[in-house]
Symmetry: C2
Amino acid sequence: MLSPVKKATHRLEPLLNPASIAIVGASNNAARIGGMPIAHLTKFGYQGVIYPINPKYDEVFGQRCYADIESLPEAPDLVVLAIAAADVTAMLRRCHAKGARAVLVYAAGFAEEGAKGKLLQDDMEAFVATTDMVVAGPNLMGFANLNGQVHTNFASVFNTSPMQPGSGTVSLLTQSGNVCAAVYAIARRLGVEFSHFINTGNEACVDLAQYLEYLAQDDGTEVCMGYIEELRDGKRFIAAAEEFARRDKLLILYKAGETEKGSEAVRSHTSALAGDQQIYSAAFKQLNIIQSNDFVQMAQLANLAQYRQRSAGKRVAIITISGALGAILADKFILQGLEVPTLPQALQDMLRAGIPDYGMVSNPVDVTGNVVNDPGFVRTAMEALAQSDAIDAVVVYAPGYMLDRMADDLCAVAEKFPRLFVAIDTGAAQKREQMRNGGVPVFEDIGVAISALSPFLLWQERRKHNRWLDVRQQPAPARTALPARLDEYSTKQLLVQHGMPAGAERVATTADEAAQAADAIGYPVVLKVLSADIAHKTEAGGVRLRLQSADDVRKAFNEVLASAARYDPKARIDGALICRMESGVAELIVGATRDPVFGMTLTVGLGGVLTELYKDVSHRVLPVDEAMAREMLGELKAYPLLTGYRGRALGDVDATCAAIAAFSRAVLALQEQADEVEVNPLLVKEQGQGVCMLDALVLPAAQTISNH
Amino acid sequence: MLSPVKKATHRLEPLLNPASIAIVGASNNAARIGGMPIAHLTKFGYQGVIYPINPKYDEVFGQRCYADIESLPEAPDLVVLAIAAADVTAMLRRCHAKGARAVLVYAAGFAEEGAKGKLLQDDMEAFVATTDMVVAGPNLMGFANLNGQVHTNFASVFNTSPMQPGSGTVSLLTQSGNVCAAVYAIARRLGVEFSHFINTGNEACVDLAQYLEYLAQDDGTEVCMGYIEELRDGKRFIAAAEEFARRDKLLILYKAGETEKGSEAVRSHTSALAGDQQIYSAAFKQLNIIQSNDFVQMAQLANLAQYRQRSAGKRVAIITISGALGAILADKFILQGLEVPTLPQALQDMLRAGIPDYGMVSNPVDVTGNVVNDPGFVRTAMEALAQSDAIDAVVVYAPGYMLDRMADDLCAVAEKFPRLFVAIDTGAAQKREQMRNGGVPVFEDIGVAISALSPFLLWQERRKHNRWLDVRQQPAPARTALPARLDEYSTKQLLVQHGMPAGAERVATTADEAAQAADAIGYPVVLKVLSADIAHKTEAGGVRLRLQSADDVRKAFNEVLASAARYDPKARIDGALICRMESGVAELIVGATRDPVFGMTLTVGLGGVLTELYKDVSHRVLPVDEAMAREMLGELKAYPLLTGYRGRALGDVDATCAAIAAFSRAVLALQEQADEVEVNPLLVKEQGQGVCMLDALVLPAAQTISNH
């Protein structure tokens, strides 16, 4: 019997770490799906019990073969079904009757194949729901738990890629078996050692988020690479990703469906809805998940992760033997969002003492080819770089033998100081392995180095202070009831309760009241028809701007109400809203919509048609605090309009951030009552003068609400 | 003596293909710069005569060593100077006296090292200008002509990378020796075989464009990879690149200085001005040069180029054994600007006959893992894809053994049909070499495949019809003289001569003339002060809009002239311009500025502050015809504003393109007289109603004009 690797008793334990495995449809042919898992189990040394089941055989791969599941001497932890789709549910009943704790279903021909398959899958799900069995699949390639050599897969990549010598700490979790195999093959070529190889298939009963939850808790997993077509349980996913962050594990995710064509192709082959790509990216960013849509980058990141306890961050010092390469590396890092700060003068002076005049000392540093022959200086320079608080990480470029000459010094410095030093060698340095083992990762290509290092260093930077975990610790706002009539005034008042500023404004039900209101507010004013039934006030002739006197207001009141009544005779009109005519620096749109995966999400952008064309918006999953709001504003290409671009007035950025955080609280307080909340525009006034909602809208939840 | 490899007698022939090479400062130590070139020449089998020169030795690497250049038995074709900067010019005089045809100068310490080095370089250039010697460098690593094993380099990469067995067709031309070595090492690992390895150093007397001109004419060069920090002769560069296009050769260029930091770093190490990155990109695009800022991508492209005579283009069919991988590939190609068209129904039906229901037939095609076992079907399907006119190229993804099973069929189809088939294998297929030799390139990674294939297929597409070569064949417009007074009216009239439309407008010198003009034009009108001395008319109070009557016009005339006189008492005011008040769909800015490298360049964008922030502009080097203008408009993210975005009126795109082409002619006709010409705004009216210049400006050339 297999002694459990760890104490955790996650629900997926009998699936992923079973003490016994039965294979229904067992075969002696290692090329068949009923044979390959048994071949793997025996070849790679699974320590648990294997029960091949097939009435045609007495023995399979040296193991006694049983005629049927009922004949097994015990209830198996896990049953693998290598049988056709049509037979699956009946067999699940027999597995359940036998007392199996988990079942894995290979068969395709379920929901991914249209209406008929969908019925089969519905049947299967309905039965499983009546049990406490863990059922993986259908339509998958199986998994491998490489720390226990638990193989339930028919992945030939385990035959073609070299098997790792011992246990590993990197897990792979994908919604496609072929992607799982492709990434595994690439990562194994880099020497990455794996903990789990899991593909989730149709996720009828166990979805990706549940596996992720398991891996978050799994002591054997320190890094997880994932491939996602669609998340079925956003809440659980967020919780699992938070657990990764809390335990200081690295999560790297590929989200498929970058284009419409790609999304279509994903849908056709798994019946998944690809979801909103921008919201996925926003959520990943908030959760400090590295998003990577490149297999090699993922594998390189997983490999680099072994150095993740070295101190690092986004300020990079670049040391090269070539001015051109220094410039190239600086370009690349900066384009990826890192910083290449000019070194402090004292450090520059120290470097200049050992570097010829035609070299460079500011950063990038060009030590020139001669310097590699002066090991004393190299050591001194590296030690100084290891201790400077002006930088977070050091990247050294030198080809082949030049890197070899610096290798011992690099290793010595890496041993003495925690700072991350990275080497890039486009030649053929002999001491690569020595450096890697000595704490200095070595890349063989500039592009690959940049593509792995940049997100890794940004992850390191964000990991120092994970804002999302902070915000999530704050208590959720108490529920606010939606008012019965959602006109502009009541909507704004609802948001005002949570701290969102409105301008001076009053409701008037008669022309005289309107004039009084305007007198009280001060001219000029804006008059708008007040009706929960009229969404497009301007189209309805329901808005008048720049009214300068009580008479103008009276006249406007009568005209606007008449016009609105003509526009929609059935609308209930409650009067007019009189508002101070405000002016400011810029108008933003701040909106929340319900994403089917992640629940209520926030969008901030500049108003207007060009912003739409340029897609210049920033998204976040709620809650959003002031610091996150500032980050969102900073992501807008139009942000300089708030910060004095070309002599414009400065906008009140602090007040804008406070208002966005207030909006977040208001939306959360509405809970399931609203599907959409929008302030459009939010007027940003000059610095110190605050912001002001010019219009606001709530779309009540249509009907039954999911529990996202 | 070396028999010349080719007939061409380009000026650089004695440098790059010398029959004899003298090395001043020759050394017996292969690790020294005076030794390594001789070691390479002897080791790799140079067939010409080698003359080591050093009074300290009698023999160097088995060659007789001479005491000084004067002792040589003949005038050498090429002399390599492995001596210090301070001694170079004196030695150049001696080389010239001896009759040397070309000299190569290694020494650093010239213009790249500041004022003192600059003086040395000036001296050297001044002397060389009095001779017809070709002098390469200074500050370089030397070159290799691998088709004649001419080595003048101290590049250790020739010792560490395996030497190619025979001649090659790929040249490498860089402004950095280290970049040259790095790209060479990467490309050699892919098996790329080289023609020339050239780095240009400080380019005191021979610049990159001259080398490029040589390589364009060189029959041994079919592909050139280049690395550029700064071009010193844009005209010559354009002519050389045109020659590449005319001879159907592929040019791949890296332009350094993508960020300000990178540009600075480039400047500090070569004293080069990095120039405008956007203009470089525009010129490369016009000349159908592939711009690549990644060494691996460059090397992969050079490797892929051996398949460039296979028919290909931007419409890709994707064939995979995995729906997920199909979706991923479709995403990637589309993001890179390629098309993944839905296959014609007949082709889909044909595919469906052999593909299970859970596979996909529309494109991407998922043949499923089973199909590789049905070679008859694979062959039939591939032959159908080879002949479909709905696609241009076929990309096949299958890992390892699955690709092996299709390999014979792929090769057979590639032999029978000219269409490009490409394979991607993330596994470890055994038949990779067979496929490559059989006309089917094989990539080992998806990211690398996309990054090489996408620009390659776009190059193939543009190569079918090179618009730039067409436009350049058209005669240049005759010179138009600049009017003496460059006020708005004369500027517009200048542009009108070349076909740029202006609205109805008249000059008035009195208030009554203004009123008469307005009556004739029709109301409403715009009145603007007319003065070549007042650039900012609005600031000067010199513009009145929407004038509705003759009285309004008279009043406005007097006010505007008075205001302008107050604004600038010294300005000569010539009256006012009365224009019809035009309205339209959008306002563009169309401008030409003189780029220090490429000469007059055109910029088109939407007017306004957001366009600036979003950098939503398109650039081209002149001339630009209507078709190119259309391409420029299509590059604008704001283009949908002209094509009915969200129910807006359609703009007159045809008239806009005609106007841009007219603008191009006008700017070229001004030749060296103007440094900047701008129409801002150009009003685009509704479809069928044309366009109209609302304002225009010419900035006369400041002083002495270069001949760019």
